[in-house]
């Protein structure tokens, strides 16, 4: 049986990229770094009390009183175990990864909903992104983007982007045919159709995708710490590699609280959108 030298091809491919595209990667690195630093600057810069109020208000508007109370109590717990700053660092990384995943993912999802051919091409690629063990591309990521939050963000984007792409595409494909028919007979242009009919109706599904993307970003926290991303991942990593179960658990708890707050808030937005589109 002939052995396919897949591994060798990949290695020489990575070497070629490193040697020839370093300015390009340098540019990407600078851009992502600026975004992460920006979010970090805001999240850490805003005093805890004000941040607490903002979180509470946001949770109340989107998801009601219970979530607001939970969010405030959860934030207080994080603050009391001295992990607030690190949580904000992790949150900055997650926000950056999510924003970039949305900027790339939503247009891609819209495009996929309109083209069966692209749909066929993209699906195995998305499967790859979601199932390839992250360690496989972590090391090349360090080559291109150095140690720090940037390769962590890139790895997170690769892993967390597929749901927003898939669910955007699905949501638009699921808009009922009679609605499309009706708007067409009222003479709407394709772009009006997209922005005034399809996207609003697909919004709950798209928001479910956003929710999944955020949750997957959070599951990359510890893996990103292995390439120097810092934040809560560091605490967990230090905890598990030195058997400091207590510290590791505290770090893990902060990740869980952050995840639950973000989950309830994004789900809340989705629910209220769904209710609205039913009312109309």
């Amino acid at each position: 049986m002939y052995r396919l030298p897949i591994g060798n091809y990949v290695e020489s491919g990575v070497d070629w990229l490193t040697n020839n595209l370093s300015p390009f990667f340098g540019g990407i690195k600078a851009a992502i770094e600026a975004i992460i630093n920006g979010f970090e600057f805001i999240y850490i810069g805003i005093p805890f009390v004000i941040m607490l109020l903002l979180v509470g208000i946001l949770a109340y508007i989107t998801a009601g009183k219970k979530t607001a109370i939970f969010s405030i109590v959860g934030s207080l717990i994080i603050y009391s175990i001295d992990l607030w700053k690190l949580t904000m660092k992790t949150f900055a990384l997650v926000t950056t990864a999510t924003v970039i995943a949305l900027i790339i993912g939503i247009p891609l999802g819209i495009w996929m909903s309109r083209s069966n051919r692209l749909n066929k091409i993209m699906r195995p690629i998305l499967d790859f992104m979601q199932t390839m063990p992250a360690f496989v591309y972590l090391i090349p990521a360090v080559y291109f983007f150095d140690l720090g939050p940037v390769p962590g963000a890139v790895a997170t984007i690769i892993f967390a982007m597929p749901p927003i792409v898939r669910l955007t595409s699905l949501g638009i494909r699921q808009v009922p045919a009679d609605v499309i028919e009706a708007s067409r007979s009222f003479g709407s242009t394709p772009s009006q159709m997209l922005f005034k009919v399809q996207i609003p109706l697909a919004m709950p599904t798209i928001l479910a995708g956003l929710n999944q993307t955020i949750m997957l970003s959070l599951s990359m926290v510890v893996i990103s710490a292995m390439i120097g991303s810092g934040g809560l991942g560091d605490i967990v990593l230090k905890g598990i590699s030195q058997m400091k179960i207590g510290d590791g658990f505290e770090g893990g708890l902060a990740v869980v609280i952050l995840a639950m707050i973000l989950d309830r808030i994004t789900q809340g937005i989705g629910k209220s959108k769904a209710a609205k589109s039913r009312k109309q």
Partner: protein, 286 residues
């Protein structure tokens, strides 16, 4: 109400972005980036080095925690300046083969680190040969660490050389120490791949099995490695690293101080630095 809130949030975010952009991208002659892995001896050496570089030599030090392979990758690509925890010739020999031409050896910081098979002191075996007869007792398993580590390939060689009918279990450092802890708590026999300096020797009473065939090598040394060109553009720091060596006593003392304090290791390292002036001065060549 909602619209106003969203607007406020958006405004805050954009101003943050603008300021964030303007604060990043400083390049400084006096900046040093040290990569470290979460190993006790490395944490001790790295934090003390950071304390000395900052307080005595006026550098600005950034410490980045990562896994060992990414640290070597970053060192080889010139993005990280120094890594103080390279174990040679066995443990990290494979990274040297891959990246050796892109990184520079600044010398040995600790001599006679041991790697080998470790058992709790209450088990009967004292040599690797004795494992053969006591296969029942040890359950025919050697608990290892990450499959890529040098100590794992050395252990595979040992299994072959001594004719051990044992299975080497892949896992990770934490999984190995967890298994050790559990066995010791239940007073059971266990054999693991281990090394010194490691905190497990200060936590439990352990012994290293005699390796009559010398498969694990005589002893390991810990080296300090830097990126290419570090000596040229950060001469003073490179000179310090070349003198930065530890005796067993000094390293145990520092590691113990960090382990016991429970505070931020950098704070503890600064205290240690102030309490051990003559030692610090000898590193600085005073």
């Amino acid at each position: 109400m909602k619209k106003i809130l969203t607007l406020v949030l958006a405004l805050v975010l954009t101003t943050g972005l603008i300021t964030g952009c303007s604060t990043s991208g400083k390049t400084d002659e006096k900046k040093i980036k040290i990569g470290y892995v979460n190993w006790a001896e490395g944490i001790a050496m790295t934090n003390l080095a950071a304390a000395i570089l900052e307080e005595k030599l006026g550098y600005e030090v950034e410490m980045v925690l990562a896994d060992v392979a990414p640290v070597f990758t970053s060192l080889a690509s010139g993005n990280t300046d120094v890594f103080l925890d390279t174990w040679l010739p066995v443990t990290h020999g494979e990274y040297l083969e891959k990246y050796g031409k892109d990184i520079v050896d600044l010398g040995i910081s600790y001599e006679n680190a041991l790697i080998g098979l470790v058992v709790p002191s209450y088990v009967e075996a004292d040599t690797i040969e004795e494992l053969i007869e006591q296969k029942e007792t040890f359950g025919g398993k050697i608990i290892g660490i990450d499959s890529g580590a040098g100590i794992m390939s050395a252990t595979e060689k040992a299994i072959e050389a001594y004719g051990l009918d044992y299975e080497l279990v892949n896992g990770s450092g934490p999984a190995m120490t967890a298994a050790l802890k559990k066995a010791i708590n239940n007073n059971e026999a266990i054999v693991v791949t281990g090394w010194t300096p490691h905190w497990m020797f200060s936590s439990w009473d352990l012994k290293v099995l005699k390796d009559s065939k010398g498969i694990y090598g005589e002893a390991e040394n810990i080296h300090i490695y830097s990126r290419k060109g570090f000596e040229e553009d950060k001469t003073e720091a490179a000179k310090f690293f070349q003198k930065y060596t530890f005796t067993d006593e000094v390293l145990s003392d520092l590691m113990g101080a960090i382990e016991e304090s429970g505070k931020d290791p950098l704070e503890t390292a600064k205290e240690w630095m102030n309490n051990n002036e003559s030692q610090v001065n000898s590193w600085l060549g005073k």
